[in-house]
């Protein structure tokens, strides 16, 4: 296990940098994590992050398809907001575990 310092607070993360405890997450931390991934967060980013956190807290599996049907953003837009590996990046910034999904 590792420690990361975001907004002056020490956070426990796994070896890939995902939060171990999603409840310690704040929006200000999200901005700093995003910076590490070279992303500047907009309101739309936060809408997506909130959607993912809500779904995660409800115990639901997170999939790209689910994001596309969320009404928050379509799949192309999701790839545009978090270029490269959108689900992994968004989960990391949202302070939730890496989604274990093949779709």
């Amino acid at each position: 296990m590792a420690q990361k310092n975001y907004t002056g607070i020490s956070v426990e993360v796994n070896e890939e940098g995902y939060f171990l405890d999603s409840t310690v997450w704040t929006k200000e931390m999200a901005v700093e994590i995003a910076k590490e991934l070279e992303l500047e967060l907009t309101d739309l980013h936060f809408e997506v992050l909130n959607y993912l956190r809500t779904r995660f807290n409800a115990g639901e599996a997170l999939t790209i398809r689910g994001v596309g049907k969320s009404g928050v953003i379509d799949i192309k837009g999701f790839y545009g907001l978090f270029p490269g590996a959108p689900m992994k990046k968004a989960a990391k910034i949202a302070g939730i575990p890496k989604p274990a999904s093949c779709i």
Binding site: A61, T63, I64, R65, G66, G68, D74, I75, K76, Y79, P83, G84, A85, P86, M87, K88, C102, I103
Partner: protein
């Protein structure tokens, strides 16, 4: 000394030559999985695999009920090959497979292709097979970028960290 340096996968070029549910979905899952991870994906459909991108066939693909020793009845008993030849059995088995996949949030073929393209993946049809089956660009779904030759396909497969996968 042995060089153990690893180069991350950057691009996959996937070939799908068969039109059964399991062959087509293996291709789609691998292609979508690649773009989800930020890996470039080019998918080349050929021979019966063209069914997966042909407008009037793509959402009607079946699984074969004959000659598949891994086929099981619901409950796990072996599926007798003779049963597989009865009219309607292939349709029923295929419908059952599709409903099981839908429960896992696996999309239908057209939506799956849309997801891959939305993620930057590219879909191609094989020219030789399209000529053979007398299919034209307008017979294929909108997600197909072009009808290309095998040479065009190989030309896309350059670069370190590229793999060609035949499903």
């Amino acid at each position: 000394m042995e060089n153990k340096e690893e180069f991350p996968l950057k691009k996959v070029c996937i070939i799908c030559a068969k039109g059964t549910i399991e062959d087509v979905y293996a291709t789609l899952v691998m292609a979508n999985g690649a773009v989800m991870e930020g890996i470039e994906a080019k998918v080349f459909f050929t021979f019966f695999g063209l069914d997966a991108i042909t407008k009037n066939r793509m959402n009607k693909i079946h699984t074969g009920t004959i000659g598949n020793p891994a086929m099981r009845m619901p409950g796990g008993l072996p599926f007798p090959s003779l049963l597989g030849i009865l009219p309607g059995v292939e349709l029923g088995v295929s419908a059952m497979m599709k409903s099981q996949m839908a429960k896992l949030d696996i999309p239908p073929v057209d939506e799956f292709l849309e997801m891959i393209v939305a993620g930057g993946g590219e879909i191609y049809a094989c020219k030789l097979a399209a000529d053979m089956f007398k299919l034209k660009k307008e017979d294929f779904c909108e997600h197909v970028s072009a009808i290309i030759t095998v040479g065009d396909f190989y030309a896309m497969a350059g670069g370190q960290g590229t793999q060609i996968i035949f499903t």
